[in-house]
Amino acid sequence: MTEPLLEIKDLHVSVEGTEILHGVNLTVNAGEVHAIMGTNGSGKSTLTKVIAGHPDYEVTKGDVLYNGKSILEDEPEDRACAGIFLAFQYPVEVPGVSNMYFLRSALNAQRKSRGEAELSGAEFLDLVKEKAKLVDIDQGLLNRSVNEGFSGGEKKRNEIFQLAVLAPTLAILDETDSGLDIDALKTVASGVNSMRDPERAFLLVTHYQRLLNYIEPDRVHVLLDGRIAKSGGKELALQLEDKGYAWIEEEAATA
């Protein structure tokens, strides 16, 4: 059997001295789509930030293996260059820096670290045109400052656009569906679906079951109070839609 792409083992994480994750175990293979659901404060966002290497989160126990190697000591940019991409829950604005310039710098930094040639302006432009179509992003937005003055939907779409251009091996989407209207949700979902690939895995963190009507996950996990309380197939998501989270809490309490 081949090595899993991402393996999280008994992960304990603290922020400013408070433990948020109390032993998370999760294995994601290349080509799979996993959904992580859970209520407010269950630790979903923390999990995504720890994988990406946010400096505010302290791992007190356990490990995160990516392609079989621990990445906990790696800087965020090293993880990015290794193919880990995080779509932010609240995309960040960078005033004065154009989307195109930013993305080209990022892509070339990643290519350079992999020993690939940097893309020329023209090559980059071709790539951007192709990917912009994929996520239906307005060309005008590409020349504006990163996320500045973008609507909520445009910001989320811009995250998926970056995902498409950077073409990572592990894509983590932190509530990319939140706050989107149905049309924007469909666009985001079709962008993700078109990028599904035997070499690539997705970790979808979501608060709302609706996303899973448009992106079909291989596995669904419920994060409850810093642990994965239940895992199952996509039918688990439907059960959650019907019954809410209370029954899982009860199950977890009696287990």
């Binding site: 609240y90 939140s178 706050g179 209207d181 608060h207 709302y208 079951q209 609706r210």
Partner: protein, 438 residues
Amino acid sequence: MTTRTQNRFAHTYTLLRKALPDEPGWLSELRDEAFENFKALGLPTVKHEEWRWTNLKRIADTDFVPAELAEVSEAQLAKYLIEDADEIRLVFVNGHFADKLSKLPTIPDGLVIEPISRVLGSDEGLQVKLGRFAEPTQPFTALNTALFTDGAYIRAGNSLTIQTPIHVLYVSTDSDAPAVSSPRTLVLAGESSELRVIESFVGHGNSPRLVNSVTEIVAKGNAAVRHVKLLRESDGTSHLGWTELNVERDANVSSHSINLDAGLARNDVHAVLAAEGANCSLNGLVLGRDRQHFDNHIVVDHVRPHGTSSQLYRAVVDDKSRSVFAGKVIVRQGAHGTDAQQQNNNLLLSNDAKVDTKPQLEIYTDDVKCSHGATSGQLNPEAIFFLRCRGLDETHARNLLTYAFANNVIEHIKIDPVRLALEKLLTERFAGLLGGSP
């Protein structure tokens, strides 16, 4: 004076309660409590900071009787309908449901669109939510809660997307004695649902009257609500309208207040961004003429982190009309990552027109992005000159610029038929105002 006014409305209240004998107990209690509040609060005067630019003398000096249902023909209604936005409509005349004028085609499961009067006894959601957001602690929300006879109740279940606009028309008609009607709307959008709601307030005939409305919109997690309030009241009408928005986690609510006509109108919009990542967009347009008086008071309350809000209010005032804008953004402690923007622009077309503007920011946390700006002035002479150099005559140039100024607000309306109808209306309006079409 205040006491006299309360007594006046006390009489109105007694009359109204007599006319509605069969209401459920919870509502009677709610009404009694509300009316007690109103009596305690009294009518605000210009000495109240929030009312310093809007004088309610004409309300204080008038006896109002409860407005009664009157006959309105389809033909009379026609001009207030919006092409392609009337598939679903609820019509109320003088605060009473007009069954014949309304249109409620088959609606999908999970969606409720009814006059409040029909579901009073049966819908639990209504009892739980009504008056819980627009609490009867302000004089006019209290008065409305005490006096309302009927209104629209719209509820969408989880993950339900309704792209067909729902048009609620509140029509008032002439009466022998000055009458008060109290329209009431409650919109409940379930998790991840989408709704589009248009409220039209239209006045038929010019006799003096008071229309005192309350609209409550609740958007649960991830829901999206697009709301437009169209004001087309007659010159005899004093319109007081309170719009309460409660926006939950990741939800998006837009509310546009389009003030086309009214003798006197005061709109209060109170938006509470109650949970993380809640968003609202509040826009308004005032087109004032003659001696019309418009007052828009906005409060946006950022309670939780990562909320965004934007306000764009514009007024075009001509003749002796007056526009007031007061916008307050509150960012509560802990509401970090808030992005709040406010913009108020005013265009004065005559020397006798007047605008008052008061933007306010109250920020109790750092790591926020807040901006506000206000301008008032006349059309840019250089822009007029430029257009004339390109061959337009002066009137045409002025029309075009005025139209563009106003249309900037209309462009934000994401309900296509409404936007198109308003663009058309603007075209006609400025042709009429200034002669020649833009």
